[in-house]
């Protein structure tokens, strides 16, 4: 039976809620002072909290390194794809091609909601990768 450590228990129970709060900032980005970049930094801070409390080895079992790399790389591709879809279905590059209905609610965002989620995932994966490589170099 392993010992009880206060930092370990608190970080385990708190990190999923911080992750969910980052997703909330992404989803409500066009209605409240959130947005892609802020939500991405909040998502990355949950992973940083786990890095600080539990070390890198245990966390990489949960968030595999290869999938984080793929998220960071294909995020830009998805952003370009959304822009080109605006060029094809709408008037110009990055123009809104989804029908906007219900202004002031979540579906009223149209393309902005999609772009916020893509940018948030890309920024979160990028900051997580920076911090992971810094940690790894320190522990050697």
């Amino acid at each position: 039976m392993k010992k009880t450590d206060i930092l370990d228990v608190v970080s385990r129970k708190l990190a999923p809620f911080i992750l969910l709060f980052g997703f909330y900032l992404l989803t409500y980005g066009h209605l409240s002072p959130g947005g892609g970049f802020q939500g991405g930094v909040t998502i990355a801070s949950a992973v940083i909290l786990l890095f600080l409390a539990k070390g890198t080895e245990r966390v990489l079992e949960v968030f595999p390194l290869k999938s984080v790399h793929y998220t960071e790389a294909y995020g830009f591709f998805a952003f370009l794809l959304t822009g080109i879809a605006g060029l094809v279905f709408g008037e110009g590059f990055l123009s809104s091609f989804l029908k906007v209905k219900g202004a002031g609610a979540i579906p009223g965002g149209g393309t902005i909601l999609l772009l916020n989620i893509i940018i948030g995932l890309k920024v979160g994966a990028g900051i997580t990768l920076i911090c992971y490589y810094l940690f790894k170099e320190r522990e050697e």
């Binding site: 900032l25 409240s32 002072p33």
Partner: protein
């Protein structure tokens, strides 16, 4: 005297006490004293944010306060983890 005026008086008082407790950050003999200064300033500014949002009656402003709380906690943890003796928190 209504509650709005009382709220603004308390806001001035909390900002003033935050400025005074900078003294503990500047002249703490040890590193733990400087961290205590950061902790107390963070708590006082959190109270100011909540009071300001309640005074304006805008519930979207309170997201800022929650993010502020999260990042103060992570910052103190990072400073305490990587200074001083090696593996001080293990």
């Amino acid at each position: 005297m209504n509650t709005q005026a009382a709220f603004s008086v308390i806001i001035y008082l909390f900002i003033g006490s935050g400025v005074i407790s900078l003294y503990r950050v500047l002249s703490g003999p040890t590193a733990a004293d400087r961290l205590i200064g950061l902790n107390i300033i963070s708590a006082q500014i959190l109270a100011v944010l909540v009071l300001f949002a309640a005074m304006e009656n805008m519930h979207v402003y309170l997201d800022v306060a929650l993010v502020y709380d999260i990042f103060g906690f992570v910052g103190i943890l990072a400073i305490a983890r990587y200074t001083g003796k090696k593996e001080a928190l293990k």
